[in-house]
């Protein structure tokens, strides 16, 4: 019984149905172990964590340069910025805004740099439901290829103070 000391000689290899189940469970664990590296090499959706250290001031300066050189319009007072296909794009997170609005083309690949000016934030692209962590002093680079066109919302899904639920942004994708 589990509440009494076992009789001597309790160390035995599993047998019967228990042995069968352990075999099945181990096989399933091996399948799952292989699935992740397989997807890293052959799948199209991965979080590789590519990042560089950056001070908030430096990052803000890069965002400023990016907006100045690639601005194509304005949406509700926020600049719309269109990076060159294959080029770098910048997205700045701060209490409680995503800045600027990005305009991308479907099927093109961009290196999207995301960092925070203040607290931790959560980049959550809706309604696709893709989520990445954003930290201050880390330039998180997502090599992103939109595969659908339309108007997408970025919401913040890491608690960042009382206005957390107000923090929304936009990504526009053209065919």
């Amino acid at each position: 019984m589990s509440i009494q000391s076992p009789a001597a000689g309790w160390f035995k290899a599993p047998s019967g149905s228990e042995r069968v189940w352990i075999g099945i469970a181990m096989a399933w664990c091996i399948v799952m172990t292989i699935a992740m590296p397989y997807w890293l090499f052959f799948g199209k959706q991965n979080s590789t964590g590519e990042a560089y250290r950056v001070t908030p001031a430096d990052f803000a300066a890069r965002v400023g340069t990016f907006v100045e050189s690639h601005k194509v319009g304005e949406l509700q007072g926020v600049p719309i910025v269109e990076p060159a296909p294959g080029g770098d794009a910048y997205l700045l997170a701060r209490m409680w805004q995503w800045f600027p609005v990005l305009k991308l083309r479907k099927g093109q690949t961009y290196r999207v740099h995301i960092s925070s000016m203040d607290l931790q934030h959560g980049f959550s692209l809706q309604p696709l439901n893709m989520n990445f962590q954003v930290l201050p002093t880390y330039d998180h680079v997502l090599t992103l290829t939109p595969t659908s066109a339309g108007e997408f919302t970025i919401v913040c899904n890491e608690f960042c103070g009382i206005g957390h639920h107000l923090m929304t942004g936009r990504i526009l994708v053209e065919e």
């Binding site: 019984m1 589990s2 509440i3 009494q4 000391s5 009789a7 309790w10 047998s15 019967g16 149905s17 069968v20 189940w21 099945i24 469970a25 399933w28 664990c29 091996i30 799952m32 172990t33 992740m36 590296p37 890293l40 799948g43 959706q45 991965n46 979080s47 590789t48 964590g49 990042a51 949406l75 509700q76 690949t109 607290l119 931790q120 959550s124 809706q126 893709m130 989520n131 990445f132 962590q133 930290l135 998180h140 997502l142 090599t143 992103l144 290829t145 595969t147 919302t153 919401v155 913040c156 899904n157 890491e158 608690f159 960042c160 009382i162 957390h164 639920h165 107000l166 929304t168 936009r170």
Partner: protein, 581 residues
């Protein structure tokens, strides 16, 4: 035959304990020797645990009624304040206090030992309670709305961190007191051979608890020093990985404690014994060895952490800790099946299950806990912790949807179930309103399952966790979620109300029993269940019988099938989102 099948179960050849004269009593129900000093601290920690459960539970219902969009009860500042309160009181204060009570109980009772040190027990208890009060007061003062994780550079009042440090150190002292008890039991030869399996599981919990508490110190002490301006702000990435060494590992303490409680209740209610001691112990060993890398589960979409690191660590090396859970998930019901078949309940595949002592709330709570933890928590946990799939889950309601079925439907329900024995045996009070006791696990278990199902599927629509307003009213860019998400949040709200009803019923029953229950001192407790005869002759387990568990094989087969389907469905959904590296 009474439901307490362990009556007289302690053989006469058992060695004597190491108690001072008069400091021990023999339990009239189980024949176990109960250390009077240890019992006092079991009672104190249990009382503290239930008080924090009440605080955390009151917070829970307010939160459920806020995230149910049709109700949206609290204001934004109060939502985040109450969420901070809920997380800490439930995940830390309730559960740690109950676990210390369990460690003291199994360490002294099953090893027939006295408690190592009364002084350490007092110091540990007082620090844990004082620390928790300091934290709760700091939260209500309104300057510590940082949620449970207190991610830097989010800043709380110094008292908030100080309270947490007090709780962690107090808990560490209590765990040391447990190890001291194990040491003197061994030294004084109070038991023969190896420790019982339940104690082995408690060892695993205690060892992981030490690792957890060291991580707590490593994360919270720098945050405290920063809050009083002695050091610079800690690196946010470093803080996250260290904090989750506390945050996730503590959940594995809960898993070990819960699994031990499953074995304990299985033994108490149907006389179950493990199919193979070495397999069960090996599985606990796997927890100790491989569970410490689980902090990676929370960093799967973080910057600055490589894909290789994420993949290796999130899989617990090679899913070896998952393997451990799958082993317990088989061997626990299988041991019940073998015990019931041994009593003669051999009809069909599930005759043993229908004849099980369902009118015993400890048994129904235990089996519900097993099913909810396995089907709900186990499957979602592995899938969400798959590195790439986590892109569709990180910080959405899928995450709390997962851990409300592990730590609430699993651990908390198992702890409630064992309380239906701890109160009669340690407080020596007969439960009041026994009909309500019998339905309480069902109300709580069904409620939390409905709640977590709504939460998980709302999360699949992208609804964030820890978020006050899914309508985003007043936000710069108007947005919102699919109507399906609102339906799911409504289901979550209804489930939350049902679960809270079960929770308050539990607290009410325990409090009423401790204060007004009939004393059973010197007598056996009134059994929860009177076993009917199977109509067949009970027979002793032969080697063949021990491995004849067709019912469990069917149940675990259904489990594995659900697991495989949900796992590959998620890979399919992932292949539909944008490409990203």
């Amino acid at each position: 035959m009474s439901s307490i099948t362990v009556s007289g179960g302690i053989p006469d050849r058992a060695p004597a304990g190491n108690h001072a004269p008069g400091a021990v009593r023999t339990c009239a129900t189980t024949g176990l020797s109960i250390c009077e000093v240890s019992s006092r601290f079991v009672r104190w920690h249990a009382v503290a645990a239930v008080v924090f459960l009440l605080i955390g539970g009151s917070a829970a219902i307010l939160l459920a009624l806020t995230r149910w969009p049709a109700v949206h009860l609290l204001s934004a500042p109060w939502y985040y304040r109450v969420l901070t309160l809920h997380g800490l009181n439930m995940l830390i204060f309730w559960i740690l206090n109950f676990e210390v009570a369990l460690l003291y109980f199994v360490g002294t009772t099953l090893l027939k030992s006295r408690l190592y040190s009364k002084t350490l027990a007092w110091v540990g208890f007082l620090m844990m309670v004082a620390g928790a009060i300091v934290v709760d007061v700091a939260i209500f003062q309104g300057k510590s709305d940082v949620l449970m994780t207190s991610y830097v550079p989010l800043l709380a009042a110094p008292a908030f961190y100080l309270g947490l440090i007090l709780v962690a150190v107090g808990c560490l002292i209590s765990v040391i007191n447990y190890f001291g008890t194990v040491y003197i039991a061994k030294r004084d030869h109070t038991y023969e051979g190896s420790v019982p399996l339940v104690v082995f599981g408690a060892h695993a919990a205690a060892i992981i608890a030490v690792l957890t508490l060291l991580h707590a110190a490593a994360a919270i002490v720098p945050a405290f020093l920063w809050s009083i301006h002695l050091i610079d702000v800690p690196d946010p990435s470093w803080y996250r990985s260290t904090w989750w060494g506390l945050g996730h590992m503590s959940q594995q303490v809960n898993v070990c404690a819960m699994v031990s409680v499953w074995y304990f209740i299985g033994a108490l209610t149907v006389g179950a014994k493990p199919l193979s001691e070495s397999v069960c112990r090996g599985a606990f060993l796997l927890y100790i060895l491989f569970i410490n890398v689980a902090s990676a589960h929370h960093l799967l979409t973080d910057p600055g952490v490589s894909a290789a690191w994420k993949i290796w660590n999130t899989s617990y090396a090679m899913y070896l800790a998952v393997l451990a859970s799958m082993i317990h998930g088989f061997t626990v019901p299988a041991s019940v099946e073998v015990a019931m078949r041994g009593k003669g309940f051999r009809r069909g595949v599930f005759g043993w299950l229908t004849a099980a002592p369902w009118s015993n709330p400890a048994f129904s709570g235990f089996l519900l806990s097993l099913v909810i933890f396995g089907f709900g928590g186990g499957i979602t946990g592995v899938v969400l912790g798959t590195q790439q799939i986590n892109i569709m889950a990180h910080n959405t309601l899928r995450i709390p949807g997962h851990f409300h079925v592990t730590v609430v439907g699993g651990t908390t329900l198992a702890f409630m179930a064992v309380t239906y024995y701890i109160v009669p045996l340690v407080f020596q009070r007969e439960f009041v309103a026994r009909a309500l006791c019998r339905i309480q696990p069902w109300i709580f278990g069904i409620g939390i399952t409905v709640f977590a199902t709504g939460m998980s599927f709302a999360g699949s629509y992208g609804v964030p966790r820890r978020h006050w307003d899914v309508e985003f009213s007043g936000a710069q860019f108007a947005t919102g979620f699919d109507s399906g998400a609102h339906v799911m949040l409504g289901i979550m709200g209804v489930g939350g109300v049902i679960a809270a009803t079960g929770l308050f019923l539990f607290i009410g029953l325990v409090v009423a029993t401790v204060f007004f229950g009939r004393s059973n001192a010197g007598r056996a407790m009134t059994p929860w269940h009177v076993e009917r005869s199977s109509g067949e002759v009970a027979r002793h387990d032969t080697d063949h019988e021990e491995h004849h568990t067709p019912g469990t094989l069917v149940l675990t087969g259904v489990f594995l099938l659900s697991f495989v389907v949900y796992y590959f469905a998620n890979w399919k959904w992932l292949s539909d989102v944008w490409q990203v590296r």
